[in-house]
């Protein structure tokens, strides 16, 4: 087992280096730089920069360096925890990153737990009640969950929460707590706001996972050992939950890693509509403004999040299934 984890982690680090390289190339791709953006803005306001001043800034930010040098400067800094400076916010990227990344991780993990719990329960229910009206209703909901763009769902839920429930919507905190230090009241406030993003981001994943769960369980329920268990006179509850569900969960763990990109992508888009203090809004804004160090660091960390999630999913699978770790 230890060897398997070690090998998998080694893989992950090699992948990370390539991810950094490709991510950097893509972000660096657009012509122009934030400096040009800034100069254009200054000129529009009527001001100007002396050519000497521009040249000094160009040298300071290394705008005209060859790309491999730029990459090396950024990457060597990145490994040491120096992610460069955000041009737009005039702050080191690391100051903007951690809190937002923390919320992204929190929401992603909670969404994952939510969608797993719900999809197992829903999947088991619809498999054991196949072709009944609730099963059809669940199927309809699953199809809708897969076809509604998550930001649209966010909008609809927000309108619902505001108009029907009379809640203050958007963000993760009420106005009074936004800048307050952490306290129990602030935590409770956070919990009150969390349900919308979790529901919205988890919707499509839950729809898909519960579909997978239903199919798996139906396959398992046809097996002879389930019939044997029933024939022994075990109560149906034990047959389902102890014998069938345990074996049906296995393919669900296999797709665990596949559901992660959806959650992380969904989180970044939904955050814009829900006005959440997570990585998404800052990342997309940085892309539009060519604030490259901010953008590339965020992209990098989103990929790291995904890779760690995949690693954990693989380890979990190897732990469950000896065939994989002895491969």
């Amino acid at each position: 087992m230890a060897r398997y984890i070690l090998r998998r982690s080694g893989y992950m680090f090699v992948t990370l280096i390539f991810v950094a390289l490709i991510g950097f190339l893509i972000i660096e791709l657009p012509p122009g730089s934030y400096l040009e953006f800034e100069i254009a803005r200054l000129r529009q306001l009527g001001g100007d920069m002396a050519p000497d001043q521009i040249r000094a800034l160009e040298i300071r930010y290394g705008v005209n360096d060859p790309i491999y040098l730029k990459f090396w400067k950024w990457f060597s800094g990145f490994v040491r925890g120096d992610f460069g400076r955000s041009f737009e916010h005039r702050l080191p990227v690391s100051e903007l990153l951690w809190e937002r990344l923390g919320f992204t991780v929190l929401i992603s993990v909670l969404t994952m737990i939510f969608s797993w719990v719900v999809s197992i329960i829903v999947g088991v229910y619809s498999a054991t009640h196949r072709y009944t009206i609730p099963d059809y209703a669940i199927t309809v909901l699953q199809f809708i969950g897969l076809s509604v763009p998550n930001f649209l769902l966010a909008l609809v839920l927000m309108v619902f929460a505001q108009q029907v429930l009379g809640m203050e919507v958007g963000g993760l905190f009420s106005g009074a707590y936004r800048n307050a230090p952490w306290s129990l009241a602030k935590f409770v406030d956070l919990l009150k706001h969390l349900w919308i993003p979790i529901l919205v981001i988890g919707a499509s994943g839950t729809a898909w996972l519960s579909r997978v769960m239903r199919g798996n369980l139906l396959d398992v329920l046809n097996m002879q050992y389930v019939q044997t268990a029933r024939a022994k006179g075990l109560p149906e509850r034990t047959v389902i939950w102890k014998h069938a569900v345990r074996n049906a969960l296995h393919p669900l763990v296999m797709v665990l890693g596949m559901s992660l990109p959806g959650i992380i992508s969904g989180e970044t888009v939904v955050a814009i509509v829900l006005n959440m203090p997570t990585t998404g809004p800052l990342y997309f804004r940085a892309l539009l403004q060519q604030d490259m160090y901010l953008a590339v660091t965020f992209l990098m960390f989103l990929a790291v999040l995904l890779l760690i999630g995949n690693l954990l999913a693989d380890i979990l699978l190897a732990w469950l299934d000896p065939r994989i770790r002895f491969e």
Binding site: I27, I264, V269, L299
Partner: protein, 383 residues
């Protein structure tokens, strides 16, 4: 064999008995029959066919040009339709009402009130804004419209007073084709990569699999967004249409990996199979084995994977355009239309701005029905 069978005398009554044809049908015909029996899948197919016709006839069906800005009807609500004529009796000709602009003294905004006493007839096949259909039919006849100076807004107007109905139809032309083009590109890339990977194995396979893993280790939407942000701004040399094509390329650059993986597994399985071994023993070339023996077998599988990938592409484009990183004006797409519905306050006041979202949901739903139906149809073990 065939001759030996026919030479056996068959009793008369057996010959007359109706025989099921299933045994003599080709694989493709069986699939077609299985598909046609699936009601949900047929709904998807017919629904999509209707939608494609509607969006491409858009300029004719909508009374206004999708770019026409009416500063007198900013955020105007949908006009209502009545079948009660001015004489108070039922009439076959639909009517709408005259619109009066009133300043709301509380919010200091202009509101549009329908004057219930003044009915305006809706006329059919009338001349209005000129348009070009399918790129070559020039006309100015619209299916329905009202007499000028009034304009008719079936689904309301946006922040510049443009007709939402016309814009949704025009946006459909982009949103409903971007998935198809993207998936077509994805199939080409995925088939080449997947087949090569599964057929030659060894180092080729290793390199391909690492590349796929690398692409898959980026979260999709942020990666798409980063690539889209790298596209040059719209100018005379780089038009909105160029951008449209590059956006499809970007969507397919990420989307081909799934297909490549599945095809690789298929090809690897075929490689062990007897018919490929026989072809190898007979001295067939690699190209012949791949194109004559393997790809036709995998064709149905490729179609299914493609059909199931279309919804994701459509949703991807919608998300990108919603973020302002996808389709840019003068082109519109459903995602780009939804961009103006980003805030709750706007949506509550002007709920008709959400209608493009309904169009997305219906399209994706129909494509999912179609994809699921195809998957069940090509599965030889399904009943």
């Amino acid at each position: 064999m065939a001759e030996a069978e026919t030479s056996i005398p068959i009793p008369e009554e057996l010959v007359r008995e109706p025989v099921s044809e299933v045994g003599q049908m080709s694989q493709w015909k069986l699939m077609r029959l299985r598909f046609a029996r699936n009601r949900l899948a047929m709904t998807g197919l017919i629904g999509l066919a209707v939608m494609y016709v509607v969006v491409f006839l858009g300029p004719f069906l909508a009374p206004n040009d999708y770019m026409y800005q009416n500063t007198d009807y900013i955020f105007g609500q949908p006009n209502s339709i009545t079948f009660i004529g001015p004489d108070g009796r039922f009439s076959l000709r639909p009517y709408t009402y005259e619109i009066a602009t009133v300043l709301d003294e509380q919010s200091f905004k202009f509101v549009f009130i329908e004057n219930r006493d003044k009915k305006v007839p809706i006329r059919f096949f009338v001349r209005g804004d000129p348009y070009t259909l399918f790129g070559f039919i020039k006309s100015d006849v619209h299916l329905f419209d009202v007499d000028r100076p009034q304009r008719f807004y079936l689904l309301g107007a946006d922040e510049l007073g443009r007709d939402m109905f016309a814009r949704i139809l025009m946006g459909g032309q982009v949103s409903m084709t971007i998935g198809l083009v993207g998936v077509a590109l994805g199939i080409i890339l995925g088939s080449i990569m997947g087949t090569a990977s599964g057929y030659w194995g060894g180092l080729t396979d290793d390199v391909m699999q690492r590349i796929i893993e690398l692409i898959m280790s980026f979260p999709t939407v942020p990666l798409w967004a980063a690539l889209a942000a790298a596209l040059p701004p719209i100018s005379a040399t780089f038009t909105a249409l160029h951008r449209y094509f590059l956006i499809t390329v970007i969507l397919s650059l990420v989307g081909w990996t799934g297909l490549a993986r599945q095809l690789r597994a298929k090809v690897m399985a075929y490689r062990q199979s007897d018919f490929v071994q026989a072809a190898l023993a007979a001295g067939a070339s690699d190209a012949r084995i791949i194109f004559v023996h393997m790809l036709p077998n995998a064709a149905s599988h490729i179609i299914v994977v493609a059909a199931l990938a279309i919804p994701n592409m459509i949703l991807g484009e919608t998300a990108l355009s919603f973020l302002g990183l996808g389709i840019l004006p003068p082109l519109v797409s459903w995602g780009a239309l939804l961009k103006s519905a980003q805030q709750v306050a706007v949506v509550v006041q002007h709920p008709w701005l959400m209608i493009p979202g309904i169009a997305v949901v219906i399209t994706v739903l129909f494509f999912s029905f179609l994809g699921d139906g195809l998957r069940d149809a090509v599965d030889p073990y399904s009943i």
